[in-house]
Amino acid sequence: MKFLENILHKMEPNFVKGGKYEKWNPLFETIATFAFTPKLVTTKGAHIRDGVDLKRTMMTVIIAMIPCLLFGIYNTGHWEMVASTGDRNLAYFADFADKFMNGLIIVLPLIVVSYGVGLGVEFLFGMLRGHSLHEGFLVSGMLIPLTMPADVPLWMVGVATAFAVVIGKEIFGGTGMNVVNIALTARAFLFFAYPTSMSGDKVWLAGTETDGVSGATALGDLATFMSDKPVFENLNGFTNEYSAWEAFTGMIPGSVGETSTLACLIGAGILLITGVGSLRIMASFFAGGLAMGLILNAAGGNAYFDLPAYFHLILGGFAFGAVFMATDPVTAAQTATGKIIYGFLGGFLAILIRVLNPAYPEGVMLAILFMNISAPLIDYYVIQGNINRRLKRTKTA
């Protein structure tokens, strides 16, 4: 590696202040610090520092998303094949290579566009501000394609990513400063700007033009229970179509990476073992969802209300949101107690929105965005509690 190091050394003078390509310093720095941990040493305070840094932390999150990504590619390929053959009962575990390749053809461009646009915008801001790329977008760039329907036009992904990075993050100051989750900002932007491309029954199966194949998601079908014309006559009809096992493993239509609760749980395992994801948030998010499900069960009176509470946790983007979105440390509550409240309310609201508002078949995105905005308020009260404990000590002393 001495060879690479020497090349970088040789190039460095051109990029430092006063050099030929001074303006491009952020780009150079980004590449150099990616290839080599810089030779910075401690100057003040503790002389040794922990091995951890933001690059490694972010890379761990990306690794945790790989199960979702791989399964998502296969699942997308499967439903593409369903759409093109018109046979909804197509065997799931067959034609592995074909399905995977088909999926890859659909998903890879989404990833390329998301990273390309996002990193481009980040570099632009980095150059304006004179700092190298901060690592936050490495995760957002992977989250965005995983939350998209397979059929979404690529230009929309590009526009949404640019919107999310600029309005969601850079105007607040960049990585670590944003108020709401970047990937969800991108998704919410498309959801409200181009609703027909983001929900309904046409977008989930790539290339759904064939008659006779419903392209609706499980949640879309469930939402019809709240209308005059339900797809299924009763809940049994629904569970015949979507078994709990299928929903858990993710063999159902949906956004690219969200369908498989199992893959999300593998990711959750990676995040929890490494300590990158917050157990408090994840567990309380699931608990909140379950609690709302049980309340709806108790209320009853409608087939959707009667859907077993656990079913809610394995459908749609609930698990994906709990594991990868709600746990984003920048936008979540930052205090230990706050995280539990934040997670619980997030899960609670997600199911509330999902069931009671038929206009939004899925409530996870809106619930998490709402909790992102509420997180500082939760933290405010937790911090105030800490301050009051200290004040009380003075009074009683």
């Binding site: 941990t37 040493v41 840094d53 990585t175 490494t274 990158v276």
Partner: protein, 452 residues
């Protein structure tokens, strides 16, 4: 009532190079340095000039804000130079030592029968007050305050720290006399905080409240101990010392000699035979490490790796330090897949579980260098500081208040209780690589100026 506290939040950084338990003596350093910079916030007024002959224990300067607090030379000799910096700020007073130490001799005092004012006056005039620090602010104590308690820590839990049992062996009488002197200085209690496995010599002291602290570092930090026994509120003062300094004070009362000779631990992975040495504060680093270091690109630290000061070979041992640490410098590029940020990292010690080293047995020791292992970033990860901060204080929020000069925020969040050293572990584990101790010190400086 004495307490037993177990500290669960914290981190023991397991480093190579622990000092073996034998003591050697070193030649007297040709030059001894007394530096006002060792006493944070001190505005010194010199009482000697270049060329003066001084005895060990003679005053060199006093505090302009508190003229009774004298700072004395630890060695006898001739004042060789007064080194000044910008705006003629005094940086160092250098004393050229003679062949033999000559002490300014005063009469021994029976502490038991001495009055409080007598004890205080003796300590102030003879340079011993410099060993008493106060919270809030973590500076040399203001003798005009009446502290609600005095806290003495009898062990050091920081990485490679000297073993107080060993260092204080045979000094029980001095320690007892010192503690007795401290009891005269407060109307409150004197808390003597020991570790459960400390020798009976230390735990056998009388006249003070004995508390037991076990668990991870920072159990031995006096700040942690105060917080769990009798936390400082706004408007209150406590004074703090460590047991070694108490023994030095006791020694003065028993013998009438200002003898600051310390038994320091020379530690660290780059020391060939880590062990203990007897030296004076202000001894040149050259004298201490000469011929005992194996690496050739190293950092010399006066103190421990978390809170010590970086020193060049021609600089001097800090006034308060009982330890010198030598570790490798880390100013090399590290290729990301091998030794860098994405490498396996079997050599990286981390409080996070992002490196496989968290699975290694507790007996495994590490060689850590001074590389920051990453660049400075904004706060992204939350909750990691809380894991090493055993206070009912929100560390990240307090650091943010300090960074933004938010005085109300700092007061509310507990700035009066903390010292920079309490945040040393936070600084170590923080993903942001921000110099947190420095931020807290700056926050304390603002508080000192605006609120005290």
């Amino acid at each position: 009532m004495s307490k037993t506290v177990s500290i669960r939040k914290g981190l023991d950084i397991r480093l190579e190079g622990e000092a073996a338990k034998n003591i050697s003596s070193l030649p007297l350093s040709p030059t001894i340095c007394i530096s006002p910079l060792d006493f944070h916030g001190l505005n010194p007024k010199l009482v000697v000039k270049e060329g003066d002959a001084v005895k060990a224990g003679d005053a060199i300067f006093f505090d302009k804000a508190n003229e009774s607090v004298m700072y004395c030379t630890t060695a006898s000799g001739i004042v060789k130079a007064i080194v000044r910096g910008e705006k003629r700020r005094i940086l160092q007073v250098l004393i050229e030592t003679g062949a033999e130490q000559v002490y300014r001799q005063s009469d021994p005092i029976n502490v038991a029968s001495a009055s409080a004012d007598e004890v205080k006056a003796k300590m102030l005039a003879n340079g011993l007050w410099s060993l008493v620090k106060q919270r809030p602010l973590d500076v040399v104590a203001d003798p005009n305050q009446n502290p609600k308690a005095i806290f003495v820590t009898a062990f050091d839990s920081s990485p490679l720290a000297p073993d107080f049992n060993f260092v204080l062996e045979g000094r029980e009488k001095d320690l007892q006399a010192g503690l007795l002197a401290l009891t005269k200085l407060t109307s409150g209690k004197v808390h003597f905080n020991i570790n459960p496995n400390q020798s009976s010599a230390l735990s056998g002291v009388s006249g003070v409240e004995i508390n037991k602290f076990s668990g991870k570092h920072p159990a031995g930090n006096v700040g942690t101990q105060i917080h769990h026994i009798d936390p400082v509120n706004k408007g209150e003062f406590v004074w703090t010392l460590n047991a070694i300094d108490v023994a030095i004070i006791g020694h003065f009362f028993n013998t009438g000699k200002f003898d600051l000779t310390r038994t320091i631990a020379l530690t660290g992975s780059e020391v060939s035979n880590p062990q203990y040495y007897k030296v004076l504060p202000g001894t040149s680093m050259e004298t201490i490490v000469n011929g005992k270091v194996k690496g050739n690109h190293v950092r010399y630290i006066s103190g421990n790796v978390l809170t010590g000061d970086k020193k060049a070979l021609n600089e001097y041992l800090g006034y308060y330090h009982n330890q010198v640490t030598v570790i490798p410098e880390g100013d090399q590029y590290k290729f990301f897949l091998t030794t860098g940020w994405l490498g396996l990292g079997f050599d990286k010690f981390s409080n996070s579980r992002l490196f496989p080293t968290f699975l290694m047995p507790k007996s495994k020791k590490f060689v850590l260098d001074t590389n920051t292992n990453g660049e400075e970033r904004a706060f992204v990860v939350t909750g990691e500081l809380d894991r090493v901060f055993p206070f009912d204080i929100l560390p990240m929020q307090l650091v943010k208040a300090a960074i933004t000069n938010d005085i109300d925020g700092m007061e509310n969040l507990g700035i009066y209780e903390v010292a920079p050293e309490d945040f040393a572990l936070c600084e170590y584990v923080c993903t942001t690589k921000i110099d947190i101790q420095d931020k807290i010190r700056q926050g304390l400086d603002v508080i000192a100026k605006e609120c005290m």
